[in-house]
Amino acid sequence: MARPEMQQDTEMPDSGKTIVMDVLRYRPEQDDRPVLQSYEVPFSDDMSVLQGLQYIKDYLDGSLSFRWSCRMAICGSCGMMINGRPQLACKTFLRDIYPEHVRVEALAHFPIERDLVIVMDDFIEKLESIKPYIIEKQPRPLAEGEYLQTPAERDLYEQFSSCINCMLCYAACPQYGLNPKFLGPGIIALLHRYNLDSRDAGAEQRKPLVNSEDGVYNCTAVGFCSEVCPKLVDPANAVNVNKMEAAKDYFLRLVRPRGGGK
């Protein structure tokens, strides 16, 4: 039986230390624009920023909204700006910020729905647009069994498959902030992951997105996306490798024979 008397996600820490959390609030029904609200939060050394927010919600202000789920850096739900840098709240610890204030804001470059919750429709639509699944070369009957792949073939894309869709890279990318139509780092990394997969034959279908006006050439190689990625995906690498591919494609089509007389 787990603590039947407790409704809360957190327990009262008894270390005696407190830290000030300045949280950007936005309640569309009452605020014209986001405003900072400060909370004094008791904390212990094992508490993450997420636990700090949970403490606020449980004991200080139940109206605070934020997304979270796994508490262990794999669901990608609790991305937010922590002291100006996009980070997972569950993977950032209060002890590392103390005695400074913790400033928590919704992920940059996305519209704020409420408090720390952003509108992620744009990201989801882009995610769908790249066909993030294996597109087979030809239909393959079940009887043929599973696809086989060597470890070397797997190594090619493994890094890019670690993406957890946390959108920290979008909050790190000023180009996305300036032009929200830009396909963006995380999605291009995922697109690259499928293109690199030996079982996949969908690169041609994804090409128009990569090569488009809002594709890879929107990137100016700021590189902050890869700095903030909690899963070491290195989306900047996926984007820039595809720039080379897009350029090759552009110039090669000038010399390549067309369609074999079809």
Binding site: P28, G84, P111, E113, V119, P174, L178, A221, G223, N240
Partner: protein
């Protein structure tokens, strides 16, 4: 945004004004991009030299004399500093732009790529420096 009227939703879009001052990473990026202008400026200096060369010996010697003026020396020191910074930061980002470089079945580390880029730039710079000095002597 799909926000049907009357559902209470009012997504707030924050301004991008002054975005590049928001953290040191962006500031360094802007300095890196700005130093590219010095690279372009020096290309112009060399082009002017080429034009003066085509105009004959007197024009060429006048250009050489202009290069030795104190103002020009200060300008060259400035350009050297800016281009060095540009090269340094450019090679820091280089590993992010390359497909995996395999060496004896192992992937070359980002640090190794940056180091070899910097070493190549230093070697070429020294070679050009001594070549030009040799031609002068």
């Amino acid at each position: 945004m799909n926000t049907p009227a009357g559902n209470g939703r009012r997504p707030y879009m924050r301004s991008m004004q002054g975005w590049w001052r928001r953290n040191t990473f962006y500031v360094e990026y802007m300095i890196h991009e700005a130093t590219a202008l010095f690279v372009a400026a020096y290309a112009v200096v060399l082009l002017v030299g080429l034009v003066r060369l085509s105009q004959g010996q007197a024009a060429w010697n006048a250009w050489l004399a202009a290069l030795r003026s104190p103002g020009s020396v200060v300008f060259h020191v400035l350009v050297l500093a800016a281009i060095s910074y540009h090269a340094w930061t450019w090679f820091q980002i280089m590993p992010r732009t390359l497909p995996p470089v395999m060496l004896k079945g192992k992937r070359l580390s980002a640090a190794a790529i940056t180091r070899s880029g910097l070493a190549a730039a230093a070697i070429v710079t020294l070679m050009v420096f001594f070549l030009v000095r040799g031609l002068w002597a």
